[in-house]
Symmetry: C2
Subunit: 237 residues, 2 copies
Amino acid sequence: MMTTEIKALTFDVFGTVVDWRGSILAELNALGRAQGISENWDAFVEQWRQGFRQGQADVRAGKLPWTNMASIHRKKLDELLVEYGIHNLTEEEITRLNTAWYRLKPWQDTIPGLTRLKKKYILATLSNGDMPGLVNLSKFAVLPWDCIFSVDMFKHFKPARATYIGACELLGLPPEQVMMVAAHNYDLKAAQSFRMKTGFVLRAHEFGPQQTVDLKPEGEWDVVVQDLEELAAVMGT
Amino acid sequence: MMTTEIKALTFDVFGTVVDWRGSILAELNALGRAQGISENWDAFVEQWRQGFRQGQADVRAGKLPWTNMASIHRKKLDELLVEYGIHNLTEEEITRLNTAWYRLKPWQDTIPGLTRLKKKYILATLSNGDMPGLVNLSKFAVLPWDCIFSVDMFKHFKPARATYIGACELLGLPPEQVMMVAAHNYDLKAAQSFRMKTGFVLRAHEFGPQQTVDLKPEGEWDVVVQDLEELAAVMGT
């Protein structure tokens, strides 16, 4: 791979750049302590995330009209609160809990890695997150993007072609000059099929200590790294 | 106006945030010296900008399909080079000249003003510039945006409704919570008609020493300031 040809990097965000599971768990635990609720929050957060996966599948299958991450999360959260018998939250508290997805901590290597990469490359998100969420999250976590692309702009979730090609077109670059960076093989597989370059970042604990998926590259990715600081080094920054 | 209700500011870029005329003139003068070409560059740059205004009008009138700023600029530049009898530029030099619109200097108050405003508000562009141009320009000039909106995303130029409402929707905010900031009355007039808040910034020399337009507010704008540092102060940052 000629890194000199690459002009921009587009990043998956949830899992690749920020630790959603650890951050959401911390919010749920804090809420539980404050409200005197004791639950299996590990299971709660896994079901919540699974609800988002199901929502995406329903949109893809045409069972749902376009619905973004915040709306899918909120619907699932309402269901989970009933399922877990949590009835004492105000609307304001529920809204605040749903926007916990805007208050996620970057992995330790994220800020130093992105800061180095930004000197040489255009850095953008390309995330299945909703645009308001990505903007607020990036401000909260001080993520140094040059620009933010959300699937809200394309009304399709990754791995739809419209998202990858849409981002490259907005950058004014051929896909060959843009590298998709993700901790998820499915994302890179799609990006590669549309001729983007691919960078795999290992996030072995994204889904917790029992993680079974995405523990290794499952394709001929252009770059495979342990974290974003290693990516910065490999990309010559 | 309750500034506490405002969550985001969307900025016009060319003229409001960066000095396009002075920057382009400097590039043309440097090119002229290097190539031994002596022309009335003031007239050249005015005709170039006028070409963009005409291109927008043609797109609005349906005479042209959607064509972004970079493409309109390039077409007009090619015409101007013929008109001025400048035949000795290589394709690379012409391309470089057209991308002079990505190498513009911020006004002196821009960076300090935006840096202060960013602490309290989401800052976005909402510009008739093309997206690749805005991304590269923002990187070049180190403009501290939270996100970049270009009319490329909406396939309409300002003052079309789709641009203002599209930006507010992507921010997930009602128009009342977003302030359009511009040095141009036409832009604020449209934004206000769609219920956005409005901030007028006086840029008395955007069009050079003979400027006759936008020398004063021509509407009931929520805020009128001399520069972006004053805006930061008025907005409580």
